[in-house]
């Protein structure tokens, strides 16, 4: 349950921070969630990854769908050198997910280092 809640909270917090802050605020969001809801570092990292991966994949997929992939065709040729809108969405998710994972891992390790008593 905590796992799912963490994923959900990470995505929501990342989206909210992103309205006011640069893209890397996703790491802050993932970090904050794993400080608040402690999980083992491994689980935290997975949570952070999935939270941001899903957020970035879903949001880019929605935008691309509404755009009939016009942009995704062109940008995938630019960045991936092949015409694969779907792959571009996956890469988007992976890069976001990786950043989220590291952020969450840091949060979990911080919690373990500085607030060990609150360990559940």
């Amino acid at each position: 349950m905590k796992f799912l809640v963490s994923i959900f909270l990470t995505a929501v917090l990342a989206y909210s921070l992103g309205l006011y802050m640069p893209w890397w605020s996703i790491a802050l969001a993932a970090c904050a969630v794993s400080v608040m809801l402690y999980q083992s570092p491994g689980f935290s990292a997975l949570t952070g990854f999935l939270g941001i991966f899903l957020f970035w994949c879903i949001m880019s997929w929605i935008r691309s769908k509404a755009n009939q992939d016009i942009l995704a065709h062109r940008i995938s040729l630019f960045i991936l050198k092949k015409d694969e809108p779907g792959l571009l969405i996956m890469v988007t998710g992976l890069l976001g997910g990786l950043t989220g994972a590291l952020g969450a891992l840091t949060g979990s390790l911080a919690r373990r280092a500085f607030f060990p008593l609150n360990k559940h």
């Binding site: 309205l19 640069p22 893209w23 890397w24 942009l71 940008i75 976001g96 950043t99």
Partner: protein
């Protein structure tokens, strides 16, 4: 231990973020770029985007309504005239911001700021030909005019109003990809755009190459390869027109013959970043006597580099003073080619030379003084400060002589190995209130208004076509054209005294012009303006065959309708081939040919002389002729490594038609054998056949495939995914449909001067500059097929018309 792990993890997170936010390791900041909230996904414009809205903007004086039709063409209705320019600026920025700023910066020589040191040479060139200096001179003149100043200020405020509304995530895609931000627009950038245009249309010069050609070929051969007037000239001003003879004409300075024409020195120079010499256009106006309706028809298709975003942005502006429709240049206010309730107007390039180089002798390396009229004169200095992305700034000092900027000197000599300095005299540097022309044309009601308007235009020389609802048709070739003695400006000139300076300008009223001619139509297609009856020396770079194709058809047509004009504007008939084919077929020896040469030849023999998309024969012919031309000229022109100007397309064909087997350039002077016309026709065919075989094996023998019309993004090959390649389109050089590989009709317009006005047009692009928009390239297929859109010239009372798709309201 736990703290250490935490610190390692935190450091790794930061490192990853830095990696994904910069170009230090990865070629692009992929995290920032792909963030769906901030990066390129934000530029994925939903298909069903609404462009409606209500805006309250500072700087407006009254209300403005913008009605967008389904093609995203805005029909602007302003309560106050000056607000129309504000909203035009806003819309240009809204749909084309990156393009307009990039072009202004490219003109000013500021690309190094964006792309880094690889652009330094380009930037120095732009600065050393004095484009910013020219823009400053023009702006000073325009801002003296209160009405123009108000218009320019309003336009600038409109652009800035949009820029200020942008957040990082709203930035156009190119800013994100290249990693920079827009700066404030200002009136200088508007002036710079006029100079970009001037450079595109009058920046082509071949003074250095011609100087070499003269030295290498001798005067006799030079004149044969660079004739002043083509045999087949069909001039803009109909033959037989009488011109006013001036009281006196300029004469060459004493000793010009020996010092100038037989000037022994050679210069070693290779032009770079020169505007494409095929920048040209077609325009014509038909008198009501030749149209079915009895009303004039005006047509125009300017040929430019085809780019995405398109150089054109279509719109209608209506306000209390006028109601005009047409295309605009993102970067300047006003309608540039179009029509209003009373008149229609358009342009083709005159091709005339308004740009000369003078050799300057500096006193010493400081370049502070130069020798002129028997004394040392002080040179002005302009320090060009070039900022370079990721590198130290570059400072470049440019001296200015009485002629203008000293473009080439020892500090800019990588192309010029003679160590000499050359100063540029170019009409583009002269002050002029150039935008006033469009300001008045948009408001013009009749021929007299048009005539008043065009006098403000000093350069580049344009054939300004006109038609009115009163029934008049007219054309003026307008600019400040240098008054020259014969041969002046063909070659670089001595700059040590005033004797080689231009002797003023040809009086404006003596510029070539024609009004309501007997023949019932006027046309121009970049050919020489007039035949020998015109008293002045008018060198330039001229087209020969397109005008023949147009005039021949127009002479024969009666009861003309806009549909006929659509067919004419998109016509693929090859007049050049009509002249050249009999010559080729006469000298080709079929008995020596094998397959597949024989079948290539058969294609040419059976060809209908049309460069239609599917014509294989067109590909065969073009390759054969290019091969032949090279066989005739290469030996003469490339005797040394010196760069040299290439003769115009008509020269070899006319030479062979006139002198046949005796044409003086047939023999390959590098071989002991004396080649005959038959030899070179056969050899060149066999050579061409090798290339044709290759094309055939790749399945690219059809003309459209061989030509592969491509509309590149402004970043050219750096942004191939934003281009449209393989557009199936016919036409070509010397053909009315002048579409070449990446160059051609950038806007096709037909205006029928009926009431209400009937008009059709299309351009190969789309209204939005965003590669993530449906409206980025949605007109291309229509354009390629030779189809047109009927233009909706919206009138008061039509606000509820079904053609209004979105409404954007502006108020102060």
């Amino acid at each position: 231990m736990r703290t250490v792990l935490f610190l390692i993890s935190a450091a790794a997170t930061i490192a990853l973020i830095v990696l994904l936010d910069s170009r230090k390791v990865l070629p692009a900041p992929l995290g920032r770029l792909l963030s769906p909230q901030e990066g390129v996904w934000q530029n994925a414009e939903p298909i069903n985007t609404s462009f409606s809205g209500d805006l309250s903007l500072q700087g407006l004086k009254g209300k403005v309504e913008v009605f967008f039709d389904e093609r995203l063409v805005p029909h602007v209705r302003a309560e106050k005239e000056v607000d129309a320019y504000f909203v035009q600026g806003y819309l240009h920025a809204r749909f084309r911001l990156w393009q307009m700023e990039f072009q202004a910066m490219a003109t000013a020589g500021r690309l190094s700021e964006i792309v880094g040191e690889k652009a330094i040479h380009y930037d120095r060139t732009q600065r050393r030909i004095g484009l910013t200096y020219a823009a400053e001179n023009a702006l000073r003149e325009m801002e003296k005019d209160q009405q123009m100043k108000a218009g320019l200020d309003a336009y600038t405020s409109g652009v800035n109003s949009y820029i200020h509304s942008l957040s990082t995530s709203d930035l156009p895609l190119e800013y994100k990809l290249l990693g920079y931000q827009p700066e404030e627009w200002d009136n200088l950038k508007t002036a710079l755009f006029t100079k970009a245009l001037t450079n595109t249309l009058s920046g082509f010069d071949r003074d250095f190459e011609q100087t070499n050609a003269l030295r290498l070929l001798g005067e006799d051969n030079f004149r044969a390869l660079f004739p002043e007037i083509p045999d087949s000239l069909d001039p803009v001003i109909p033959k037989g027109t009488l011109f006013k003879q001036p009281d006196s004409l300029p004469t060459p300075p004493q000793f010009a013959d020996s010092l100038y024409l037989h000037h022994g020195d050679s210069v070693w120079f290779s032009g770079e970043y020169k505007p494409d010499p095929s920048n040209g256009s077609n325009n014509w106006a038909i008198s009501g006597r030749k149209t079915k309706s009895g009303k004039p028809i005006l047509c125009n298709d300017p040929h430019l580099s085809l780019t995405l975003p398109s150089i054109w942005y279509e719109m209608q502006i209506s306000c209390p003073g006028y109601n005009a429709y047409g295309v605009t240049f993102p970067g300047i206010p006003g309608i540039v080619i179009g029509f209003n309730d009373h008149i229609a107007f358009g342009f083709t390039n005159s091709g005339r030379d308004v740009k000369d180089y003078y050799e300057i002798r500096f006193r010493d390396e400081s370049r502070s003084q130069y020798w002129f009229n028997k004394e040392w004169k002080n040179a002005d200095k302009r320090i060009e400060h070039i900022r370079v992305k990721g590198k130290a700034d570059v400072l470049d000092t440019v001296a200015y002589s009485i002629f203008g900027p000293v473009t080439y000197d020892q500090s800019f000599s990588d192309k010029l190995h003679d160590g000499k300095a050359y100063s540029l005299r170019w009409v583009a540097h002269d002050p002029s209130n150039i935008l006033r022309m469009w300001f008045q044309l948009n408001r013009a009601k009749n021929y007299d208004d048009y005539l008043q308007a065009i006098k403000y235009f000093n350069v580049p020389g344009q054939n300004m076509i006109f038609a009115s609802k009163d029934g008049d048709i007219a054309l003026w070739q307008q600019a400040n054209f240098p008054l020259r003695w014969k041969d002046q400006g063909h070659f670089v000139m001595p700059g040590s005294d005033s004797s080689y300076m231009w002797k003023g300008f040809i009086p404006q009223e003596e510029n070539p012009h024609v009004i309501n001619p007997e023949q019932g139509f006027i046309s121009s297609a970049n050919q020489r303006a007039a035949d020998t009856a015109y008293p002045y020396f008018i060198p330039g770079s001229y087209e020969v065959y397109r005008p023949i194709a147009i005039n021949r058809r127009l002479r024969a047509m009666e009861n003309i309708t806009p549909d006929d004009m659509k067919k004419l504007q998109t016509d693929n008939y090859n007049v050049f081939a009509e002249f050249a084919r009999p010559l080729l077929l006469k000298y080709i020896d079929e008995s020596k040919l094998e397959e597949p040469e024989k079948s290539f030849l058969k294609l040419i023999k059976d060809w209908n002389l049309r460069n239609d998309p599917g014509e294989k024969a067109a590909t065969c012919f073009v390759n054969w002729w290019d091969s032949l031309e090279s066989a005739v000229l290469y030996d003469e022109l490339h005797k040394s490594a010196l760069p040299i100007s290439e003769p115009d397309h008509f020269v070899v064909l006319e030479g062979l038609l006139r002198d046949s087997t005796d044409y003086r350039f047939i023999d390959d002077i590098r071989t002991p054998k004396k080649e005959t016309l038959s030899d070179i026709v056969n050899v060149s065919f066999q050579k061409a056949a090798i290339g044709l075989r290759e094309l055939e094996s790749e399945g690219r023998l059809e003309w459209a495939k061989a030509k592969n019309t491509t509309i590149y993004h402004l970043l050219k090959t750096n942004a191939i995914p934003f281009a449209r390649a393989g557009v199936m389109n016919g036409g070509g050089k010397g053909i009315i449909n002048a579409t070449q590989h990446d160059h051609g009709p950038s806007w096709r317009m037909i205006v029928h001067m009926t009431s209400p006005t009937e008009a059709y047009a299309v351009y190969p692009g789309g209204q939005s500059g965003n590669p993530g928009s449906l409206y980025y390239d949605n007109f291309i297929d229509t354009w390629a097929k030779g189809d047109y859109y009927p233009l909706w010239f919206m009138q008061p009372g039509e606000e509820k018309d079904l053609r209004v798709k979105w409404t954007l309201n502006f108020k102060p």
